[in-house]
């Protein structure tokens, strides 16, 4: 995934990249620089993406980052600087090419060595339209007078999976660690599983790559998603992703009514353990997981859009915040939605939420991104 080249010499150094931990696999990645007469190089980034299920309703989100100082600092290439069919939302498998007219965004000069990283993660489309918003903003704690629960949302995309340890470790290694985004509880082998090394790098404990990241504050989550070019969902976005809109194809076409628009759980009305079949990772000895589960472990019980683990596993930070007079001297509360591996089964429903101060780091809280 990481590619280094001498900008002015057009020397390509291509490294093999094996995706893991719910990053999508990109093959045959190549970077090429072409001289132009337009005052700067034209950088071409090519790769193959062979995910079988790439569709407009379930695209990949591809983002590209670069470093001019041998990996000391990294920057996200703005979407507006890229052209081609292989960045942002990619809804069809095959060979992709992205063109970056880099000099507009960088301070490149001759003989600068540049590293390029291309990553992709699975997204799911949530079509525009109305849905049944049942929860109260801030779990009824909204005292900001400004938050209005929305029940009619524009088109957006949400990550199919909760952010994984593998993804987060990539982030830590790129942003330099050194305390940023890291806390030592993340080394808890059963509840998280990130090892910090003396040289300041991080690795995932073997076998835990696809487990969800935990012990992240709201600020950590927001920083990771800024690194990706994504953001946290609002409470309304989270809830619509959970139970679906009144029409699953959206209000523009209205061909596919949601059979249960007020469903309490992503899969419908049955409680998580109804009939002895466990549909999400919650507080029971019978769902197969004592702590978190690898993301997608209950994929037969996804939301109507095919989004995994909205119920249980880890509670998910949302973007909305709520002030409260009792803590007006502190930072406002943020909402965490979706229950967790430690929640009672009925607490993994569409409306249960917890208000947490944004610095809270917990083994039952993680996040996913939206665009």
């Amino acid at each position: 995934m990481q590619h280094r080249f001498w900008l002015s010499l057009s020397l390509l150094l291509v490294f093999c990249y094996c995706s893991y931990g719910k990053w999508l696999t990109l093959n045959n990645v190549k970077v090429r620089q072409d001289p132009t007469e337009l005052g700067g190089p034209r950088i071409s980034i090519e790769y193959d993406i062979n995910e079988p299920n790439l569709l407009p309703s379930s695209p990949a989100y591809v983002f590209i980052r670069y470093s001019e100082d041998a990996g000391q600092t990294w920057h996200l290439i703005p979407k507006t600087a890229l052209r081609g069919n292989g960045h942002d939302l990619v809804s069809k498998a095959g060979h992709k090419e992205v063109v970056w007219w880099g000099t507009d965004q960088t301070s490149f000069s001759d003989f600068v060595m540049v590293d390029i990283c291309v990553r992709a993660l699975a997204m799911v489309q949530v079509p525009a339209g109305k849905f049944a918003r049942k929860s109260l903003s801030g779990a009824g704690r909204d005292e900001s007078k400004t938050q209005k629960p929305q029940s009619d949302l524009s088109l957006y995309y949400t990550a199919k999976y909760e952010t994984t340890l593998a993804m987060y470790v990539d982030y830590l290694n790129e942003v330099g660690g050194d305390g940023m985004g890291w806390n030592k509880r993340m080394s808890h082998i059963e509840r998280c599983g990130i090892k910090q090394h003396n040289n300041g790098t991080y690795t995932v404990e073997p076998g835990r790559e696809a487990y969800p990241i935990t012990y992240v504050s709201w600020y950590d989550a927001a920083a990771f998603l800024q690194w990706c070019g994504l953001r946290l969902p609002t409470e309304s976005e989270w809830e619509k992703a959970f139970r679906g809109g009144f029409y699953l194809d959206g209000d523009h076409t209205r061909k596919t009514p949601n059979p249960m628009p007020e469903r309490p759980y992503p899969w419908g009305e049955k409680t998580p353990g109804a009939g002895g079949l466990w549909r999400c990772n919650c507080d029971t000895d019978e769902d197969g997981f004592a702590y978190t589960a690898p993301v997608g472990s209950f994929s037969q019980f996804n939301s109507p859009y095919g989004i995994c683990d909205l119920a249980g596993n880890v509670g998910e930070w949302t973007q909305d915040w709520y002030s409260t007079s009792f803590h007006a001297g502190l930072d406002g509360f943020r909402m965490v939605r979706g229950g967790s591996w430690m929640a009672v089964p009925v607490g993994c429903d569409a409306v249960t939420g917890a208000t947490e101060l944004p610095l809270k780091e917990s083994s039952i809280m993680g996040f996913r991104g939206v665009r």
Partner: protein
């Protein structure tokens, strides 16, 4: 050890006079951990559970809330810092029934503070109860009686009076630097929203709403926090917070005794959403040669609680817009005092600052004091009698509001109002069986 079956005992003691006095329980050895059950797993209860779990000398054995959805956050916080896995229960009587439990932490809504504390005392538990200590004046007195009768340590969560800087301020006032103090102004000025009542929503699975209502009427379930503004469950948002500053004012003046009378201008000036409780309260409590004034609002966003960056630092708040300050006015000097570790500053008759001290928050020290008292059987810093006297001021102001902002003369001996039957109807609530505070605790 007591041989009375505890379940039988509890049956007798709820709604009827207890017939037995528990023997004085043995105090745990210094190297034994104090065992705690936490009742009420909202923000404050979860915070207290985490803090007591993180101590080397205490451990959490039970986490209790009628709403099972509240278990996870508290359990996670506790299990992060202690190895013992707490039991999760919806009925706090399971905590009281367990002889291995020493302490009940009561961080419930206001309407549960009194009865659960009394039942815990009857069951031989010491209690850390959150403020406002009692839902009504009569109930507060019964809490005191229960604590004394069963020789229980009851600490009220009014931690500010434990702060060393508060003691220094008190010493400064007692030294006479302010002259004779004739006026104390207590501020509690906040920002609350209008709320929309949503009565009649279905009770969520996993929530024992009947238990949540307990001694209060079982009104139609409302998923919002509208209950904060209903007399049935609450003393009101003003009382719930202003009691801290009122208690500080009492502390600074050597625990002022009962006031002679209360006058009140209370109103719902801005938050007209059908609530019971006022959003504006200007109450004046009359003492022998002192007036204690409480100025409270719920619609003043520019008035700020002391910022987190100031609370535990060598800084003072911006006093004019400090929403939780106390002003002490003497014949020779003036003092600003700030809650939340805001420190204090003394001024002379020329308005010059002549004494200052930065403050620190006292949550940890208050918890230390409680555990120390559990072991030594001393009275706690915010003993139940002190808690009763402080919340009594809130109740007096509320009752004045409820009878049309009348001036009410208070009879300390009977803890009732003189010549005002209507006001006296608010001294005690109606309790819903079986959750009745008995006359004889």
């Amino acid at each position: 050890m007591n041989t009375v079956n505890r379940r039988d005992f509890m049956k007798r003691s709820v709604g009827a006079a207890a017939v037995a006095v528990l023997p004085y329980s043995s105090v745990r050895a210094a190297n034994e951990k104090i065992v705690i059950g936490v009742m009420g797993l909202g923000g404050r209860g979860t915070y207290l559970a985490e803090k007591f779990a993180d101590r080397p000398d205490t451990e959490i054995a039970y986490l209790c809330d009628p709403n099972t959805r509240r278990f996870a956050r508290a359990r996670e916080a506790v299990e992060e810092v202690q190895t013992r896995k707490p039991k999760l229960v919806q009925d706090f009587r399971k905590i009281l029934d367990d002889d291995t439990v020493d302490v009940l932490i009561n961080a419930t809504p206001d309407h549960w503070h009194g009865l659960a504390t009394i039942m815990a005392c009857q069951a031989g538990k010491d209690v850390y109860v959150e403020k406002p200590m009692a839902h009504n004046i009569w109930e507060g007195r019964k809490m005191v009686e229960a604590a004394r009768k069963y020789k229980r340590v009851v600490q009220v969560g009014m931690q500010s009076r434990t702060a060393p800087y508060a003691k220094k301020a008190k010493d400064y006032i007692e030294s006479g630097k302010l002259g004779k103090v004739h006026l104390v102004r207590v501020f509690n000025m906040m920002q609350h929203p209008k709320r929309t009542a949503r009565p009649g929503a279905p009770v969520p699975q996993g929530f024992d709403y009947d238990m949540w209502c307990g001694p209060a009427a079982r009104l139609p379930y409302d998923p919002s926090r509208y209950w904060l503004n209903q007399w049935e469950y609450s003393c009101g948002p003003i009382a719930g917070d202003a009691v801290h500053q009122l208690d500080l004012a009492r502390f600074l003046l050597n625990d002022l005794p009962y006031p002679k009378a209360v006058s009140q201008i209370g109103a719902i000036n801005d938050l007209q959403d059908g609530r019971d409780t006022p959003d504006t309260q200007l109450a004046m409590f009359e003492y022998e040669d002192l007036t204690l004034q409480m100025e409270s609002t719920l619609w003043t966003p520019y008035m700020k609680k002391i910022p987190s960056a100031t609370r535990d630092s060598d800084k003072f708040p911006h006093w004019p817009f400090c929403s939780t300050r106390v002003e002490v006015l003497g014949t020779e000097g003036f003092m600003y005092f700030g809650r939340h570790g805001g420190g204090w500053q003394g001024y002379d008759s020329n308005g010059e600052i002549v004494a200052s001290q930065y403050g620190r928050q006292a949550d940890k020290a208050h918890q230390d004091n409680f555990i120390d008292c559990v072991r030594t059987r001393k009275r706690a810093n915010a003993d139940v009698e002190i808690g009763h006297q402080s919340v009594l001021l809130c109740h007096m102001a509320n009752i004045s509001y409820r009878v049309g902002n009348q001036r009410l003369v208070f009879d300390p001996k009977s803890e009732s109002f003189s010549h005002n039957d209507k006001a006296n109807t608010f001294l005690k609530r109606e309790y819903r069986a079986p959750w009745v505070v008995p006359e004889q605790v």
